[in-house]
Symmetry: C2
Subunit: 656 residues, 2 copies
């Protein structure tokens, strides 16, 4: 029988040796938490290294992602097939799966991409919430697993952690267990440089169970996990550890955090821990013991598969877990488009969004909503999205409170878990608060939908603190995000359709507070919004001299400018460009035809003008905001900032 200490030392030396070979990385955390991880993976975690995506596995999230070698070592030792010793040797090298920080999709053991601190913890809250919600739908014979997180001081210092732990405590996510690497060291030095918080008190105040253990005492760790599993609240286990445990001179200091230990220190650690083996060499008995742990869960998995096979709703469970949309939902979109094309309501696009969601949520049961405490403004609630509560997870609507960043990261967790397509609302300007998590949605190819209302100076009196100028630019500049700014009900549901069809990344809908006319008055089965941009109104005169390009609430303004220009004999087309990213995917020919190569191109958008040169070219102009907004009724602001049909027409005429 291999001792737990030897098994933990295998993690320690793989970590030391891999960081040394890479000449960069973070050995201190894997060395410090090796004992805790060994207890968790050999005695508690329900998993099967040979079937890593088994839907009812326990989730393990390394929120302190810089300690990636902990995860890779565990993956190699337990026998994940995508992590052989060559991967460990090639830690942080080009093309290796063993990236500097664990990346979802690169290695099966990474349930989420971590590194930006606090994100993983919040993702874990989302996964634990998803577990409760899936169990409410399918019963605990099909869904019944724990979510374990390792987080360090950095994760707990980030504000997002408070948003996440508040919600976890509120919802009483009893199967969430947080193992805090309580090592008293941060990068600058001792944590006492910047914190003197009573973390147990903090978590207690948030309705968590708390415990404190010696993170190098396997039996104490095991007892604490046992106790945590038994409670009906989320659990914090403060694991008092020595960072870089085993490093003879640097252990317990910030020197082991983020740099190779050096040959001498590693030799010292080998002597100190009694590990005479060569770098990357794990003695067979130790490896065997780890490999046995890696398949501990196989029987449980087999039993679960049998239960699933007998489950009457198996197809629906598998469909939602696989992220396949139901049959025929596109028909709902077509019906909606026909209706609004005929009725031509004057809705704010936030209202169009609500109506679209009213149509879509009944036919797509995995579509779950929420808002960061702006439900009545975002209009994100629908008749079928009953709220979830701490005692009833069968609902479909999440009150996140004023916690935008936490909301986005929890949506990532819901999406990563499988079974749901989350959408969440806030004001567009508060996308600034959630941007780091939206970036993770994009990097992890998550189908998460951000419903961002009050999308310009058109929100009026709330003033410059609430009026986005730069937000849409930042979202457009973030890779793998579809940013939609629809102009009417037709484009709005088309944006939802494109967002739902976009299986490999998040989408943003930027929606107006103010009412707007319906502009798409001729029904088209085609999703024109999914082309990114299209000619909404061709020139009514013989030739097109001017092309006006607009998005969202400014499309109707462009149409007014077209009338002005054409009354002066200047042939003018209006292009609606609701999604830059999709437009860029069209052929060059299509784009040239839409943009009217050779015409004078004027863009108008009541946001910052940054980046529009791409579409208007050297001879064009952009009508928009060049500074912060102001507090006044919307029409006053449009006039004050010169975002008017008249200004658009003048800009065009000046360039002819």
């Amino acid at each position: 029988m291999t001792s737990p200490a030897d098994m933990a030392n295998a993690i320690r030396f793989l970590s030391m040796d891999a960081v040394e070979a890479a000449k960069s990385g973070h050995p201190g955390m894997p060395m410090g938490m090796a004992d805790v991880a060994t207890v968790l993976f050999t005695r508690f975690l329900k998993f099967d290294a040979k079937a890593p995506r088994w839907a009812d596995r326990d989730r393990f999230i390394l929120s302190a992602g810089h300690g990636s070698m902990l995860l890779y070592a565990l993956g190699y030792l337990t026998g994940y097939e995508d992590l052989d010793i060559e991967q460990i040797r090639n830690f942080r090298q080009f093309g290796a799966r063993t990236a500097g920080h664990p990346e979802f999709g690169h290695v099966a053991i990474a349930e989420t991409t971590t590194g930006p601190l606090g994100q993983g913890l919040a993702n874990a809250v989302g996964m634990a919430l998803a577990e409760k919600m899936m169990a409410a739908r399918h019963g605990d014979g099909i869904v019944n697993h724990y979510t374990y997180v390792i987080a360090g001081d950095g994760c707990l210092m980030e504000g997002i952690s408070q948003e996440a732990i508040s919600l976890a405590g509120h919802w009483q996510l009893s199967k969430l267990i947080l193992l805090w690497d309580d090592n008293h060291i941060c990068i600058d030095g001792d944590t006492s440089l910047s914190t003197s918080e009573d973390q147990l008190g903090r978590f207690t105040a948030a309705n968590w169970d708390v415990a404190r253990v010696d993170g190098h005492d396997p039996e104490a760790i095991a007892a604490a996990i046992e106790a945590a599993k038994a409670t009906n609240r989320p659990s914090l286990i403060a694991c008092r550890t020595v960072i870089g445990f085993g490093a003879p001179t640097k252990g317990g200091t910030e020197k082991v955090h983020g740099a190779p230990l050096g040959a001498e220190e590693i030799a010292g650690a080998r002597a100190k821990l009694g590990w005479p083996h060569a770098p990357f060499e794990i003695p067979a008995p130790i490896l065997d013991s780890w490999r046995a742990a890696g398949i501990r869960g196989a029987a449980e998995r087999t039993a679960w598969e049998a239960r699933l096979a007998a489950y009457p709703e198996r197809a629906e469970f598998e469909r939602t877990v696989a992220g396949r949309l139901p049959e025929n939902w596109h028909q709902t979109v077509l019906d909606f488009k026909r209706k609004v094309t005929a009725e031509q309501p004057k809705w704010a696009t936030r209202k169009s969004s609500q109506e679209a969601l009213e149509a879509l949520t009944p036919v797509i049961p995995e579509l779950i909503g929420g808002s960061a405490d702006l439900t009545h403004s975002n209009l994100t609630h629908t008749k079928v999205t009953r709220s979830i509560t701490p005692t009833d997870f069968s609902g479909r609507y999440i009150h996140y409170g004023v916690r935008e960043h936490g909301m986005a990261a929890i949506m990532n967790g819901l999406s990563l878990h499988g079974g749901f397509i989350p959408y969440g609302g806030t004001f567009l300007i508060f996308a600034n608060y959630l941007w780091p998590a939206l970036r993770m949605s994009a990097m992890m190819n998550r189908r998460v939908i951000y419903v961002l209302t009050h999308d310009s100076i058109g929100l009026g009196e709330d003033g410059p603190t609430h009026q986005p100028i730069e937000t849409v630019t930042a979202l457009r500049a973030t890779p793998n995000v579809l940013v939609f700014r629809p102009c009417d009900p037709v484009e709005t549901i088309e944006a939802y359709e494109a967002a739902l069809d976009n299986e490999t990344g998040p989408s943003v809908l930027a929606l107006s507070r103010q009412n707007l006319p319906t502009l798409r008055t001729i029904h088209s089965d085609d999703n024109l919004t999914a082309r990114g941009g299209y000619i909404l109104a061709e020139s009514d005169l013989d030739s097109r001299q001017v092309t006006l390009i607009a998005t969202g609430s400014e499309v109707s303004l462009a149409l007014e400018a077209k009338d002005l220009l054409e009354s002066r004999g200047i042939g003018t087309a209006v292009v609606s460009l609701p999604c830059w990213e999709l437009f860029e995917r069209q052929t060059k020919e299509y784009r040239s035809a839409v943009l009217g190569e050779g015409t004078v191109r004027i863009a108008v958008e009541a946001l910052g003008t940054f980046g529009w040169e791409r579409w208007v070219g050297d001879n064009g102009a952009v009508i928009g905001m060049t500074g912060f907004g102001a507090s006044a009724p919307a029409d006053k602001l449009y006039n004050h900032f010169g975002i008017t049909a008249h200004a658009v027409a003048e800009a065009a005429q000046a360039r002819l």
Copy 2:
């Protein structure tokens, strides 16, 4: 003697009537907190409405900025000269000082701009820290004031609040008093929809004193504030209030939060509270009592002015409070430039930044540093910037912990307080976490310097989670931010010089992790970086056919490409463009000459390419990143993503 209830009702009815007239706004909070605010302003707050910027006044921050009418009512009632009744009548109208949310610089009573929740609370922590730091420098005869904050549930739900309260507790900011509007209502409805936290426990865990009072009992409120002033820790006073107190049917519900009450409900409130007066009418005895409260502090102010007059260091105190830099500091910049121009070190620009700070911090004592727990990576510490500690505030370096967002908002508070120019470091990618607070630096014209290192894929192995792609774009798109990406030690200190000379907004320095050559090898007294862009190397051939435009670490790569192109007979100039915003302020002629109108323009930057069309035009090209990065050594990544001198040269040649 006017009763406290009548005085509070004056706030309530001004708020109700102003929101009603504006047809938008938030009456519930001012009505709920009117009693608390009355106690504070009539019995505690040290201020003089006739001298609103008196340096040693107590600071009052309305973190729940949507309740702006509370602040405006207080300003009008106490006699601030910029807030007459017409301003109240014109609440939220174009050109009025009474904007939807309180804006610093628009009304004297607004110590900071609030509205984005949590920011004000964090600003207040910065102000309370500034008070301790200024008192450590000048003694408590000159600096000795309290900082009071009103915050609501929204502020306390935002993650930034945790970062701020953790630090306030850590530093034991004993003169910080937080009055929590504990009204049990958020926008979606009862706070129990999304929170069940024990806030008193949470603050206790963060080393605050806590108390709970009836927010409608003036004597209880006064006793709690007295007790809070006496403790040696920051204090939370949970004020249990009824939102919309006095509204007969909507009071105590979310219906009074963010919309006018309506004529009928207001009539009901007049009856219920015994307030028969017309809209905007404050009976003379009540107004007289308020006005007397407004000048309560005049004697104290006069005494303080006498102390200041006798203070030997008065000139230095006044200089730093006014934000005037010391004489002759520009000489330090020149000396530094001469030295590095001669020695031509191969420093990473983060190292250049450290050396620049080593030169600047001794001669600019108000320049105070810090880092969000990346001191050894950001290289933000200098020999003279001793760390502040909870027991010694005479230092100049702040360990913020892993709390980027809190750091930025606290820097805003330090700057708003007066006396300091703060700089703070983190990795560039984590500017995403602090962006909402940086936006406030910009909106409030704060001279705050963001030192953002590890600024591209050049950071290498830490991988895509740490490699900024879109961050610089977002910062460039944010109004009133100077974004510098210097290429060498000369440009780096020039960037600091321009940042320090920029008295009306924040600056960002994006700095490399990797070593770079010194490229500015001929000394110039002129600050070329302050021009935004300039020709670093003119064509060595007869005519310039190609202009290569680069920033930061890619400038040396552009110089290599120039050599390649010129070896092929193609005249090529290299433009360094370290600051777009300053370049845009140059004349059109200067810009055309630098950019080489008519030449083929190729930009290269190891970041997202978004927005570069502005400089390269229709016939140009941009070499940069179009997706997320990867984890590998930096040179491997530059090759993999095609950011090479070869690629730059090829792109240019293809367009000739």
